[in-house]
Amino acid sequence: MESLEQIKIRLEAAVPGAKLEILPNESPSGQHSLLLDNAHAVALARFLRDDAQLRFDYCSNMTGVDWPDTEITSKVKVKKVIDGVEKEVDEVTKTARPGFLEGVYHLYSMAMKHGPLILRLRTGNRKDQVQLPSFTPVWRSCEFQEREVYDLFGVVFDGHPDLRRILMWDEFRDHPMRKDYSEPDDYEYEPTPHDDVLEKSKRHQAAKGTL
């Protein structure tokens, strides 16, 4: 398989105007991923599937990841002169990162037997810009997995033929896999509670005690 950089160059050549970014992965797995821009994503995916050298005809895994608003603290070692002495000091910079939802696709090729190529798509934010282009027309295997991401993360896939909830019931309003989801409180009987469950069951005990 070509390296990720080569693929990126070829993709940019094939789909003019496409913005791509390689996201490095520092873990020993070394599975780096490619961030696509939403506007050209479907065209890029088609190219990946149909290109004679790549032929990623098989989208194995598709899932969502929730990244809430957060502050990224990065420590940089800076040399500073403090009290006249030059010292190495950690300088902590905090940058607020707005949250987003992410779709992750793991592509393999059954024809060429290579892979994985990891694609990522990101929504604008977690509230109102939660659209992503659907890859179901390109790879049918995304059909149920995109429905699942819609159900559990609340990502709306444009172009999906049948976007309904898949695991939860249709009347359900929440997106439970988001990090800020709070589950319904049914901790009436908790003989072995811990942490937040302990708090909740204590509330129940208190309520019961007043009755």
Partner: protein
């Protein structure tokens, strides 16, 4: 086998009535047909119990009826999710009296390992009256047979009259239970307060 107090009560009722009662209890106790109804992992052990190695047929209970109308026993074998809970209650309501419920495995008793999940009902006894609980994840097939024997013993010594009479002979006791509806965040109601009376454990 029969307790002293019960024996005295039986003596009061007369021989014919007690014999009839014994015959009735013997009949329904030895012909417990389960509903073929599996939810999750425990269902496989339930099937294993009906297979050659343990053979639940020896107790006359291999007649797994697919239709609730012909079943006597509901083995809640596996995790009851909130999405499934209304169907479980509906199935129970469709069964004719006398009917029994065995909660097989940790999930059916309390939600078990999955009890922290947002879609998992924390025990079927919130919605249905459970006769026997089998702990284990999953319980061994022998444990299911043990539960069946326990249920048979329970049936065998049940008095058909008096305050401890079984539910199906009590005109005031309900034989159907409200089916929860799907709500926006949870099933409504999430439990039946008439049934679910947990003891208080202060922590």
């Amino acid at each position: 086998m029969i307790e002293e107090g019960l024996k005295n009560e039986l003596a009061k009722q007369g021989v014919v009535l007690t014999t009839l009662q014994e015959l009735y209890n013997w009949g329904r106790g030895n012909s417990v047909w389960p509903l073929s109804f599996g939810l999750a992992c425990c269902a496989i052990e339930m099937m294993a119990a009906s297979m050659a190695k343990w053979d639940i047929a020896r107790f006359g209970s291999e007649v797994f009826r697919p239709s609730p109308r012909q079943a006597d026993l509901m083995i809640v074998a596996g995790t009851v999710t909130k999405k499934m809970a209304p169907q479980v209650v509906r199935l129970y309501n469709q069964m004719p009296e006398p009917k029994y419920v065995i909660a097989m495995g940790a999930c059916a008793i309390s939600g078990g390992p999955f009890k922290q999940g947002y879609n998992v009902l924390k025990g079927i006894d919130r919605l249905l009256p459970v006769d026997i609980h089998i702990p284990g994840c999953p319980p061994r097939p022998e444990a299911l047979l043990h539960a069946l024997i326990t249920l048979q013993k329970k049936i065998e010594i049940e008095a058909l009259t008096g305050p401890n009479r079984p539910r199906h002979l009590d005109a005031d006791a309900p034989s159907e239970f409200p089916v929860p509806q799907f709500g926006e965040h949870d099933i409504v109601p999430a439990m039946n307060p008439l049934l679910w009376k947990p003891t208080q454990v202060v922590r």
